[in-house]
């Protein structure tokens, strides 16, 4: 969507969209409105970047694998049924 063709939104409206933008839950129009806003507004861009980094930090928490004893225990449970 061409950013020039979307209505401008306020900082308050923009910040209300950030979480759902990062969760990939916004429609095309709202995405374009937020993108247009943060291109022009430094403070909202900084907040957007912060929330993006924080979410990425949570997603990148160390990925642990189940232990071998747990895998064997689950196989035993499955065998019983």
């Amino acid at each position: 969507m061409n950013h020039a063709s979307v209505d401008k939104i306020s900082c308050r409206q923009a910040l209300a969209l950030v979480a759902e933008y990062l969760d990939k839950e916004l429609g095309q129009l709202e995405r374009a409105q937020l993108e247009q806003h943060i291109e022009l507004c430094r403070k909202c861009f900084d907040r957007f970047e912060f929330e993006r980094l924080l979410k990425a930090r949570l997603t990148q928490l160390q990925r642990v694998e189940p232990s071998e004893p747990l895998r064997k225990r689950v196989e035993l449970i499955l065998e019983k049924f």
Binding site: C11, D46, F50, V74, F81
Partner: protein
Amino acid sequence: MNIPNTTTMFDERTVQKTVVLPLLGELYRVALRLTHSNVEAEELVAETVARACENIATLRDLTRAKQWLLRILTNVFFSSCRSKKRRQEIPYVEVDDDDDAASFSLFEALMQYGADEGNPERIVITKLLDEEIQSAIAALPEEYRAAIVLCDVEGYAYQEIAAILDVPIGTVRSRLARGRSLLQKKLYHYAKDHGWTSSPNISRKGKTNNESCQCGQD
């Protein structure tokens, strides 16, 4: 993963092997984030698998097996939390439904009480330890914790989370908003404990938090 897609008859043993075992890693990770304990996570997974086996006949759509298993897992988890609260093994945490409960911003707090040099917001995110983030998640009320774990840690869509937790999508949104606010508040306390913040009311740019935005779109 190649899960057979059929809503008719299927061999239960095959389902158990082809559905449960390949998803074991995912079940364990969610369990660990929810319980913040290896032992409890393993118990939670074992109980989930046992219940899944008992109720395998209720699984009609094999493409939704993951959702179905996670629904059992979160139900077992919530039920265990309720029992612990009854036995007073864990404290009852009153959930704050006030609008302010969803309004804390770590970014704004760091801008207001930020460090004197560098980029304090990024420094805080970079320096926080996995253990601190996991402790902060574990300190959330369990309904918020589950929403945060499923969305932010495991990357599920709102619709999937609503199906797993058996709540309307609006409830997923509000739990995420409140959960994130509480999580950020907790992380801010860690930042303060580490001394990554400085004098109140003065940010690194010498501006107060109340200063309005200069973009002309406010």
